[in-house]
Symmetry: C2
């Protein structure tokens, strides 16, 4: 076994590569760029190169930078990709693995190309994920017979249900995208201010309204907040954030341990929301670390 592996987190509009020490999973060095999957796919379409070769060349260029920076030779080190890399605009389009899958990661669908290891997404009868399945594997959940509920915030949050060591079902929500749509393209845009600090009162008020009400109506309150209550656009931003998270969390059943798998942006919002809505949080798990642990678990089983 190699002493290192390279963890690639390639999103639609961003690229991130980390050199990780095997076993300890310590991150040795990192490169980021704005070379997202979507742009890379567009550039590849203008070439006559094989798709995998083209994508591999883009990654190899970044690996060379990491190698020079660290003085570590990385030509033989395996590279693990999950998420958009296996999508229709990725390095290679792979079919979704159907539910259920084991928390060990051993039965996820994996495609190998030279030193590249690409983990495919997962589907149920009516939903899909690419990337979250690898993070779930890295969550290190306790092996119990009780159902566990993973909250994975983001542009398209996933709620993932684990039972007896298997992921048995999940649902996608459009919370983050609704926030972007409503705050930039809708009639509410003029009532929502720029990136201000969280206004706790506004967030809490929005949260309870979102939890209790009909989103198609409560969303309009962002406008009447400003028209009638003279709430400032900056505070209204927190109200809308709370509103959407409250509407999302209506889907969480009572009396089930919830794990929040998130980064620094979403962790405070979702843990506060759970606390206020009496949703018991069993643990908070760093989504970024979960990805590396999950990728390692999958390749360690190969």
């Amino acid at each position: 076994m190699n002493s290192y592996f390279l963890s690639c987190d390639w999103g639609t509009t961003s690229f991130r590569l980390r050199l990780v020490e095997a076993g300890s999973l310590k991150v040795i060095a990192e490169e980021r760029s704005g070379t997202g999957i979507a742009g890379t796919y567009q550039l590849w379409q203008k070439t006559s190169l094989p798709r995998e070769d083209y994508f591999a060349a883009i990654i190899n260029a970044q690996i060379n930078v990491l190698s020079e920076k660290t003085g570590i030779p990385l030509q033989e080190v395996p590279v693990v990709l999950s998420g958009m890399a296996s999508s229709s605009i990725g390095m290679v389009e792979l079919p979704y693995k159907e539910l259920p899958f084991n928390l060990s990661g051993a039965d996820l669908a994996v495609h190998r190309y030279n030193r590249f290891i690409i983990i495919s997404g997962v589907c149920s009868k009516d939903d899909v994920m690419r990337g979250e399945e690898t993070k779930v594997v890295g969550c290190g959940l306790p092996d119990t017979t009780q159902e566990q509920w993973l909250l994975m915030p983001g542009t398209h949050p996933k709620h993932v249900v684990v039972n007896r060591g298997q992921v048995v079902r999940f649902q996608t929500f459009m919370t983050g995208e609704f926030f972007d749509l409503l705050s930039t393209h809708s009639i509410l845009a003029a009532s929502i201010g720029g990136d201000s600090a969280l206004d706790c009162d506004g967030f809490i008020e929005g949260l309870h309204a979102g939890w209790a009400g009909n989103l198609l109506h409560t969303a309009f309150m962002v406008r009447t907040n400003q028209l009638l209550k003279k709430i400032s656009p900056a505070h209204n931003r927190s109200y809308l954030s709370g509103l959407l998270i409250g509407a999302e969390l209506k889907a969480v059943p009572l009396n089930i341990p919830v794990y929040v798998v998130a980064g620094p942006l979403h962790t405070p919002l979702y843990t506060l929301a759970c606390q206020l809505l009496n949703i018991p949080v069993a643990a908070v798990i760093d989504a970024d670390e979960a990805l590396i642990r999950g990728q390692w678990a999958v390749i360690a089983d190969l």
Copy 2:
């Protein structure tokens, strides 16, 4: 009393003026243009003219066209405006009349300027309307002691509750705008096709999903419908339409007579939706005729 009045329906992006015979409320002639309130307001800002004068001149130009067309002198005929005309970008910004208001229209807030009669909007503690209050007056609802529920579809549908001859509360929904946002600006756009005929199966499936589920999740099914079920974008359009109307109609309580106040676009969708969801429709009222009857009722009381 004059033998005619002019009914002006001035929206954000459209203008419509109708010459109406008093009493019979027969429409004698009509002029339409794309001179919306928003564009007119922007043009006025570049002038040094008094706001009401500028807006009046725009209307008078259209009245002259109607006068020439019909051969009827219209210089003295009253002009009634409701809706956006009293908004912050309208002919004159009028404060909202606070709930409740009488179905006769007698206690709505009215502003007069020469021959122009501008009906203001209505507010509750946390919601607003401009224009629908006039249509409600024109609905000709029976005077009963039972609550009545008016469904008024549109970009921002209103649900208006009438009790003992008064409008006692209402709620705005963002159904139509959500449809536009999701079908043009969201990740779902690629899964939603152009203006096709209604696909009944898709609409009904969406309606039940929207009624039963969490909108932040069910909206994503528009994408997985295409990815997993190979539903065509044209059919998916009807699914999304049903989904949003189903989510909106969750707000309608059981066992209350519902009046659908709509035009030819929304009437079939909302009446079908009510039928499928076991919401009893007491009557369908033409929104356009209700506007003229409402405007007439208000000025008849002056």
